[in-house]
């Protein structure tokens, strides 16, 4: 499929002896917002890290723009990673730099743009995420939600075709979370960015999702649109969308 930007085939992965992902397959189309959902500890973030080439799988294949990540050497992998924006769960901002310098870092390293324009780009990216006033602040002076948005501004600094976003709405107030959802929709519409988002915020899922993949205990139990998910007969999916608790809150072993 020519419009596929990233594809995962039969991915199996372990942390030590513990199997985290079991035969996970998915395909993300260019320009869509693809959500990976599931309960805590089901392997969402691990899957995302595999898709950026940060972890090595036990078996299976990941193809980004038609290329198998396992066949890339270090330099090719680094080049590929430059075309993916990653916004981490805990923002991943460098504490020793201002927020503006954090956003400017990828531009200075790989942006190939005039130095005089970098400041304007940084301002624009920070405005996009509603942080115009924070350019000269240090990350430690920001709240958790602001750090998350600054992380997104850095992730989209190089206008990547694909952005991974780990838990965008977690820790944000509803107004800010809604604003972030709208921003994601705007960026998709105006810049054609493909988003792969890990989340378990129901409101966000309903608002932004084109397609949803649900993991449970490391396995794919559902993949489809939000409508299909809402009408799914799979009990775990129903439980997730109805916000229904297990009878006892127990640690389910992976």
């Amino acid at each position: 499929m020519s419009d596929t930007i990233i594809e995962v085939k039969n991915l199996v992965t372990h942390y030590g002896d513990t199997q985290v992902l079991d035969d996970v397959s998915l395909r993300v189309a260019r320009g869509e917002i693809f959500l990976i959902i599931g309960g805590s500890g089901c392997g969402k973030t691990t899957l995302l890290k595999h898709m950026c080439g940060l972890l090595t799988a036990t078996s299976g294949q990941i193809r980004y723009q038609g290329k198998d990540l396992a066949t890339l050497d270090e330099e090719q992998l680094a080049q590929m990673q430059r075309t993916i924006g990653i916004a981490f769960q805990s923002s991943g901002l460098f504490n020793s730099m201002t927020v503006g310098d954090n956003v400017a870092l990828p531009l200075r390293e790989y942006g190939n743009v005039d130095e005089s324009l970098i400041d304007a780009i940084v301002r624009m990216k920070l405005s996009l995420v509603g942080l115009s006033a924070a350019q000269h602040l240090m990350p430690s002076e920001l709240s958790g939600g602001m750090r998350k948005r600054a992380g997104l501004a850095r992730a989209i600094a190089l206008d990547p075709p694909l952005v991974y976003f780990d838990e965008p709405s977690a820790g944000l107030d509803p107004i800010m979370a809604c604003g972030l959802d709208e921003l994601i929709l705007d960026l998709k519409k105006l810049l054609g960015i493909t988003f792969v988002i890990v989340t378990h915020e129901l409101d966000s899922i309903r608002k932004v999702a084109d397609r949803i993949l649900m993991l449970d205990l490391g396995r794919v139990i559902f993949c489809g649109t939000i409508n299909e998910a809402e009408h799914s007969t799979i009990d775990r999916v129903r439980q997730f969308f109805d916000r229904r608790a297990d009878e006892h809150i127990t640690q389910r072993s992976v």
Binding site: N95, L117, R123, M124, L126, S127, L128, S132, H136, P139
Partner: protein
Amino acid sequence: MSETRIECPRTLDHETGRTLLHAVRQQKVRKGQTLILDLAPTENMDTLGGAWLVEIAGHLRKRHAKLRLEGQHEGVAEFIGIIQPSLEPFPGAKTYQAGLLERIGGTAIAQAGELGEFLSLCVDAIYWTLMAPFEGRGFRWGNFVDEVHEMGVRAIRIVCLMNFLLGLIIAMLSSAQIASFGLSIYVADLLMIGFARELAAIMTATVVSARTGAAIAAEIATMKVQEEIDALRGMGLNVAQFLVAPKMLALIVVLPCLTMLGLFSGLAGGTLWGVTVLGFQPAVWINETTNAAQMNDLMQGMLKTLFFAVAIVLIGCHNGFRVSGGSRGVGLMTTRAVVMDIFMLICVDIVFAAIFYYVLQ
């Protein structure tokens, strides 16, 4: 009020944006003028084109002129809508420069504040280490044993090696001087007195401060950054009791022991030189060394290790608690702790040297 109109290109990107800025500059708009950018011909633009618009807005702001965007089509209008805030003035970096008196006052207040925090930590730590256990208020013996293992047992090899090498160096340097008088055997006396009074204590404390002092500062600073300290306080636990007291008692116990091992290692280094290079019989060298051993010298060395131990733990904890600013702050505070530790060791040492010279000679 005059207006100037410039037509934008069909595609606004990196190259055409730069040309547009050039065209705007050539207009030499004056204060109060309005520059109208006609976006009607523009069918598409990318983020770099948007960045040039931000640059143009900044250029006009500097000239106290106004920017108006007109005629944009739907897609371009939406894009400009989301970058609109960056076309407005931004707050700049804080550039406030305090006056000399203000800086002196600020520094004095900060130093006094830090001193207060340090004294408060000292009182808390000493109470929870030395007094509270006797009042039945609890001491974390499990942690104490772990700390003894971490600070003491795991430091034995490096402490012994450093002291051994120092003994070798002192023997080497001093024998070169003393040999000309034919009194090489007195190198054994010099090593015994030097290591017992001073060298074993200071070398061991320096190794421990670089190893344990840094670890304490980094551990507590990381706990502070990750809100673990707040979590402890939130549970009503006393931080000094929970974190500081086991470390302090552990180091008070461990440092004299390590110093004693350091003393023997240093003497072993000297003996190696005396026997292999200076050619003395081992029994002769050891006999001379034991003859030079005085309880008084040994007590001078051992007594100050107790104060070194207290200083290393308190300085490590104090700097850990003062951290701010995430991972960078942890690094800075760890460095600060080690520098302060070594400076404080020398200060304590000089106080003891003065006491023994003037008072207890």
